[in-house]
């Protein structure tokens, strides 16, 4: 199996001089195709920072991240946008749906950016919503959906463009235990049946319990990387 993501000596320093915070201290990590990996660690250990680097949302101070063997260093903003659009799906803790768009429009938005024709777009968006169990709720705006339903829309949005990897940062932090279990089952099922690669930053033991690979971070470094 080839790595989808390769981190080569990635460092990230916020601030300068005495105020400098070393968030990442030389991370070397490969995420393989089909991984269902969790990234855990105490607050401030660098989980979110690492996910941001892998998601091409932020630049490392040192080292480089490669997505499908393509180094991110030196890419222009528009190229990074294209890379995120084509290769990465995001699921955030706060759902982060566009409030003025319906569930279907939120999912379709990424397909619109990919310039997929309207009929195909509609079919794929509805299929993605069906996959996360939201058939019949396509027209609802985020404000008319529960937290769990919003997160399902976010998952559908992350998956609809068939990305190479889905990055999820604390996706269950705002959900009750019942909804968490449903979502974890859903993500696991998508990984198993569709082969979607997941890298999930989380503290949640219920999520960690499902993972096939668990990475533990402490003080900006990888403390352990185990496969079950």
């Amino acid at each position: 199996m080839k790595p989808i993501v390769s981190c080569k000596g990635v460092t990230k320093i916020f601030g300068k001089g005495e105020l400098a915070v070393h968030a990442l201290r030389g991370i070397d990590l490969d995420i393989m195709e089909g991984d269902f990996a969790t990234l855990a660690g105490p607050s401030g250990s660098g989980k979110t920072t690492l996910l941001n680097m892998i998601g091409a949302l932020d630049h490392p101070t040192g080292g480089d991240v490669l997505i499908d063997a393509a180094p991110l260093k030196g890419m222009k903003k528009a190229e990074l946008s294209d890379l995120r659009l084509h290769k990465i799906g995001f699921i955030f803790q706060a759902y982060n749906l566009v409030p003025v768009l319906s569930a279907r429009e939120n999912v379709e938005f990424v397909l619109r950016l990919l310039r997929i024709d309207p009929a195909k777009r509609r079919r794929r968006a509805d299929a993605a919503l069906a996959e996360v169990g939201l058939t019949g709720m396509e027209h609802r705006r985020p404000s008319a959906l529960s937290g769990g339903q919003q997160q399902r829309v976010a998952i559908a949005r992350a998956l609809v463009a068939r990305p190479r990897i889905v990055l999820a940062d604390e996706p269950t932090a705002n959900l009750d235990s019942g909804t968490t279990a449903e979502l974890v089952d859903l993500m696991f099922k998508l990984n198993k049946e569709s082969g979607v690669t997941f890298l999930i930053g989380t503290h949640d033991p219920r999520v960690i319990g499902h993972s096939k690979r668990h990475i533990e971070m402490i003080d900006g470094q990888i403390d352990s990387d185990t496969r079950s």
Binding site: N52, G55, L57, S81, L85, F90, N96, P99, F109, V110
Partner: protein
């Protein structure tokens, strides 16, 4: 085009996320454009009324003089009555009316006072068609014919001379021999115009004045009226061709004050446009900055999803274009309705005394100027969108992770 299809519905819906703020911006843009359009219509109406009143009084749309007369209006710079060629040009369809006048500097004397005046020998029949002076006679009568050797004077001049209707005044002018000619005239009519005009002009029959000054067939000016302003330039050209030795001028060159007022009206409207644009721009920048900073997290999200920085700039600019465009449409509609509602004219009779100086009459008729509805809306819309580019530029510049971190 694809980007527009993607962003336009999003931009439109974003406008209504904060209806109060959107309405405030709409009101600012609407009032701004409405005031510019209505002011322009009012100023044009006022200027036109003022100009028409002034031109109808004496100047008309243009005049012909002997070369040098306007610089030195004395008896040596007079001209003969129009010859056949000039008469044919003056009788052309482009000219609705024309008159020949003898105008001489004179001195008016009553039992109590002596004052300098301008004495005008006129043909009353022709004057009735071209000048408003005959209608302004408020006491007594106007002149009967060109041989009428009575005098018509202004109300204020009568007051200053301490004379009255039915009394006599003595008028002194230089005659053809360079000698002083004087005669007493019956005051048969008093006219009411602005004070300056009343003090300056005394009217009598042209033939009577020519006989008194031994200036038979000599005149000082031909004033002509053109019904359509756009015909002025070609008419001036044809008159110049018909009278090569004479000085043919349009009204702007005859009354510099009127010409300057005409030009300054446009300047006034543009100054108001600038003032309004500053106010509208401040409102738009304020609104758009608030709208952008409230949604900075969302822009971060959109960038994370794959929206390019240029798309963020386009989205916010599109929102400004829609918002200002809507305000512009409402402002135009409000201005049209206002002008239609005031079609009967604005009664300013309460300010009649103050308006006398402008000779604008008591009622101002708003003018509908189609080009205003192209130029000013485009200016407001264009400038509004340009000033909104700054908040948009700031939003697209911020990195996605920075944007998402700021709001969480």
């Amino acid at each position: 085009m694809d980007s527009l299809k993607l962003l336009a519905p999003l931009a439109w819906r974003n406008l209504w996320r904060n209806p109060r703020r959107t309405l405030i911006t709409l009101i600012v843009v609407t009032i701004g454009l409405w005031s510019i359009l209505v002011l322009s219509s009012f100023m044009t109406g006022w200027m036109q009324s003022s100009r028409d009143a002034s031109l109808r009084l004496l100047i008309a749309q243009g005049q012909i003089h002997a070369e040098g007369y306007l610089d030195d209006p004395n008896i040596d710079n007079l001209m003969p009555m129009p010859d056949a060629t000039l008469k044919a040009a003056l009788d052309s369809p482009a000219i609705s009316n024309w008159v020949a006048r003898l105008e001489l500097p004179a001195v008016a004397q009553s039992e109590y006072k002596t004052l300098p005046v301008t004495l005008l020998g006129v043909d009353p029949d022709a004057e009735r068609r071209i000048s408003s002076v005959p209608e302004k006679v408020v006491e007594g009568r106007y002149l009967n014919d060109a041989d009428d050797d009575s005098a018509i004077i202004g109300l204020n001049l009568a007051k200053r001379l301490k004379t009255a209707l039915g009394r006599r005044i003595i008028l002194m002018v230089t005659d053809a021999d360079g000698a002083l000619a004087e005669r007493s005239f019956d005051v048969v009519g008093l006219f009411d115009a602005d004070v300056g005009f009343e003090d300056t002009y005394v009217f009598t029959g042209r033939n009577a004045l020519q006989a008194m000054t031994k200036l038979e067939s000599k005149i000082a000016q031909i004033a002509f009226e053109i019904p359509e302003e756009q015909d002025l330039a070609p008419t001036l050209a044809s008159l110049r061709a018909a009278a090569p030795g004479l000085d043919v001028r349009e009204w702007r060159k005859l009354s510099l004050l009127l010409g300057a007022l005409d030009a300054s009206m446009a300047v006034t409207v543009y100054i108001w446009l600038a003032v309004m644009m500053v106010m509208v721009s401040i409102g738009i920048i304020n609104t758009q900055l608030m709208a952008v900073f409230e949604r900075i997290h969302e822009f971060g999200l959109l960038r994370a999803l794959g929206l390019k920085p240029g798309h963020v700039l386009a989205l916010i600019t599109l929102e400004s274009m829609l918002l200002i465009g809507l305000g512009v449409l409402i402002g135009m509609l409000a201005a049209v309705l206002t002008i239609l509602g005031l079609q009967g004219g604005i009664d300013l009779s309460a300010f009649a005394k103050a308006l006398e100086a402008f000779q604008s009459g008591d009622t101002i008729y708003m003018q509908f100027l189609p080009m205003d509805y192209v130029i000013f809306p485009l200016a407001v819309w264009g400038i509004g969108v340009v000033v909104a580019l700054w908040p948009a530029w700031r939003a697209q510049k911020i990195s996605p992770v920075e944007a998402m971190r700021q709001a969480t």
